[in-house]
């Protein structure tokens, strides 16, 4: 198992890959992929009991990316975990490539096609319920966007998750406080979000969703309460890791120019150097 230091280094490499493939494809959801990549890193390298060899095993853990548009982060992590060759990343959004702008089952490692918002949680509820029925030990992880939570179906699914006491379901909200129009609280306010989820019957934890240590810790505590679905509000920064992309809504699906890409890599390499230095000292 990777150390938290190694995971942190991986996050930097993942960010560089995300920017590279988005730039190459001239398309992608830059901000959201950078905000959720630490969550995916911890899930796929630490938490999920799934691998390319066990992907069809009935007892594998399931991951559903309901905020399907941040697919570049998912492809990057899946390729790194060996679900498909890393070279395939270069075909992102190309004619006849399976690596399109939202997750599909044609890509090895992806459970179900997603990308229309408000779908993933119901699917996760069904998977988790089947696990309970058959007394299987797997867990189901669903990543939601915060803007996505305006979809009423998220709340329909939440009611059912609580009704069936699905403590094998872990919903994670990528709480970067931005959606394509702007701040979530001015578009259609979500707060008080933790209180809403608690009222819907979840056991709720709130963590820094770009902090490997906090994420590892939170996932390690699942189930938070017997008989309650788990919900993690992962407080993240959209565009995390590149100063001029952070908290900047224009980077929702902006593609970096040559100079922006160079500047971003510079920052990420500097962050990597700092991390390694800190580890030596």
């Amino acid at each position: 198992m990777l150390s938290e230091h190694e995971l942190s280094l991986k996050s930097i490499e993942y960010r560089k890959t995300i920017l590279r493939i988005i730039k190459q494809a001239k398309a992608g959801h830059t901000g959201g992929s950078l905000s959720c990549v630490d969550i995916l890193n911890v899930l796929y390298n630490q938490v999920l009991r799934v691998s390319p060899e066990t992907f069809h095993h009935p007892e594998r853990d399931r991951y559903i990316q309901s905020k399907g548009h941040s697919v570049e982060a998912l492809y990057t992590v899946l390729a790194d975990r060996g679900f498909f060759p890393c070279q395939a990343l270069d075909t992102l959004c190309r004619h006849q490539s399976h690596l399109i702008g939202h997750p599909t089952r044609k890509v090895n490692g992806i459970e179900l096609n997603s990308g229309a918002l408000g779908h993933g949680l119901s699917i996760g509820v069904g998977m988790a319920l089947a696990g309970k029925m058959d007394h299987l030990p797997y867990r189901v992880y669903v990543l939601l966007g915060d803007g996505e939570l305006a979809e009423g179906s998220c709340w329909e699914a939440s009611m059912t998750a609580a009704h069936y006491g699905l403590d094998n379901l872990v919903a994670i909200v990528d709480r970067n406080r931005l959606q394509i129009t702007g701040n979530t609280e001015t578009v259609n306010p979500l707060e008080p979000l933790a209180a809403k989820f608690s009222a819907f019957g979840y056991a709720v934890r709130s963590v820094d969703g770009n902090d490997i240590h906090e994420l590892v810790n939170a996932f390690g505590q699942v189930p938070f309460e017997q008989g309650k679905p788990n919900l993690i509000i992962a407080r993240t920064i959209k565009g995390k890791g590149v100063s001029f992309m952070e908290n900047n809504v224009t980077w929702h699906h902006h593609v970096p120019t040559d100079s922006e890409y160079a500047a971003a890599l510079c920052e990420l390499d500097a962050a990597r150097a700092r991390l390694q230095e800190a580890a030596w000292s």
Binding site: L112, G126, M127, E156, Y164
Partner: protein
């Protein structure tokens, strides 16, 4: 011809009988177990019934999640809500993701009659026909309903089945073969052909009896599978009869009639042709039978349409 029971009842008892021997068969309901005649199912097999409340999007999504693990899932909800409220989930979570959950639209068409257009589903064939990878079946009688459920149980792709709640005449002899995508010819004939589906098939059959008394022979085809359409049987009918009338409990737009029209025209067939269904207007109020009657989906109405196409005076 003997009157059977509602297809809804036949569906519920068929599914119950199958589920008793297979704990992987699950029913998912949206506060619809009563309307779906599934209350006994829920009482006797409580672990095999999943209730999501009045939430059709969630109904389809949960059904997809369950079915993705290998469960044999039947999501049951009034057709009007299931195929409108739950449409995006049907499109993405079932059809696009190729998850083999079965969705059952109950009280379809104008079964809810006087409850009005909120409760009618006259759009479901049209919207689902335009979505790749979902089979659409509208069984005509108890035999077709029972056979449909048995046939789709292990079908590896999503299927939509819709039926109503009025008792239906037994249309088929006991040795009839049922196959998804293969229409059943109920009576042979060479003057006019009725291609019908669901609860309008018995009307077409009754119309054929009216016309037989006038010396006209009718071919009556139950096109239970609306998609994929049995083009072979349709083409044969176009070759061997003088006029073709489609009948459906659906809008005249986008349903069985237009499917037949395009299939025939694209293959170069041109014959007197009429799409019978619910016209594009505010649907008249009344019971299913009254609505059918108003729009000529009746033995007399269909016989009149046939005479018109054949340019014959009523005798």
């Amino acid at each position: 011809m003997e009157l059977g029971r509602p297809n809804l009842d036949e569906f519920a008892s068929t599914l119950f009988a199958l589920a008793q021997h297979d704990r992987n068969i699950l029913v998912v309901t949206s506060d619809s177990r009563g309307s779906g005649k599934l209350t006994p199912f829920g009482l006797q097999l409580p672990d095999q019934l999943v209730e999501v409340g009045i939430a059709e999007q969630n109904l389809v999504g949960v059904a997809a999640g369950l079915a993705s693990t290998g469960k044999r899932v039947f999501a049951v909800s009034p057709a009007c809500f299931l195929t409108a409220r739950g449409l995006e989930q049907i499109k993405n979570d079932l059809a696009y993701s190729d998850i083999p959950a079965k969705i059952i639209g109950i009280s379809a068409g104008v079964s809810y009659g006087a409850l009005g257009s909120t409760h009618h589903s006259l759009h479901d064939f049209a919207v689902l026909r335009a979505i790749h990878n979902i089979t659409i079946i509208a069984p005509a009688d108890n035999f077709e309903t029972r056979s449909t459920i048995q046939a789709i149980l292990d079908y590896p792709h999503p299927v939509y089945v819709r039926f109503g709640k009025a008792p239906q005449y037994h249309l088929h002899p006991p040795d009839t073969r049922f196959e998804i995508g293969k229409a059943i010819t109920i009576t042979g004939g060479h003057d006019v052909c009725f291609v019908a589906c669901g609860e309008t098939v018995s009307m077409a059959y009754a119309a054929s009896q009216v016309l037989a008394a006038e010396g006209l022979t009718c071919r009556v085809i139950s096109m239970h599978t609306v998609k994929p359409l049995d083009v072979e049987t349709l083409v044969l009918a176009a070759q061997e009869t003088k006029a073709l009338i489609t009948v459906e409990e659906h809008s005249v737009h986008g349903g069985l009639g237009e499917a037949c029209a395009s299939a025939l025209l694209e293959r170069g067939f041109c014959l007197p042709f009429k799409i019978t269904g619910i016209p594009d207007e505010y649907t008249v109020t009344g019971s299913q039978a009254e609505i059918f009657n108003d729009y000529g989906i009746s033995p007399e109405g269909l016989a009149a349409t046939a005479r018109q196409l054949l340019q014959r005076q009523p005798t």
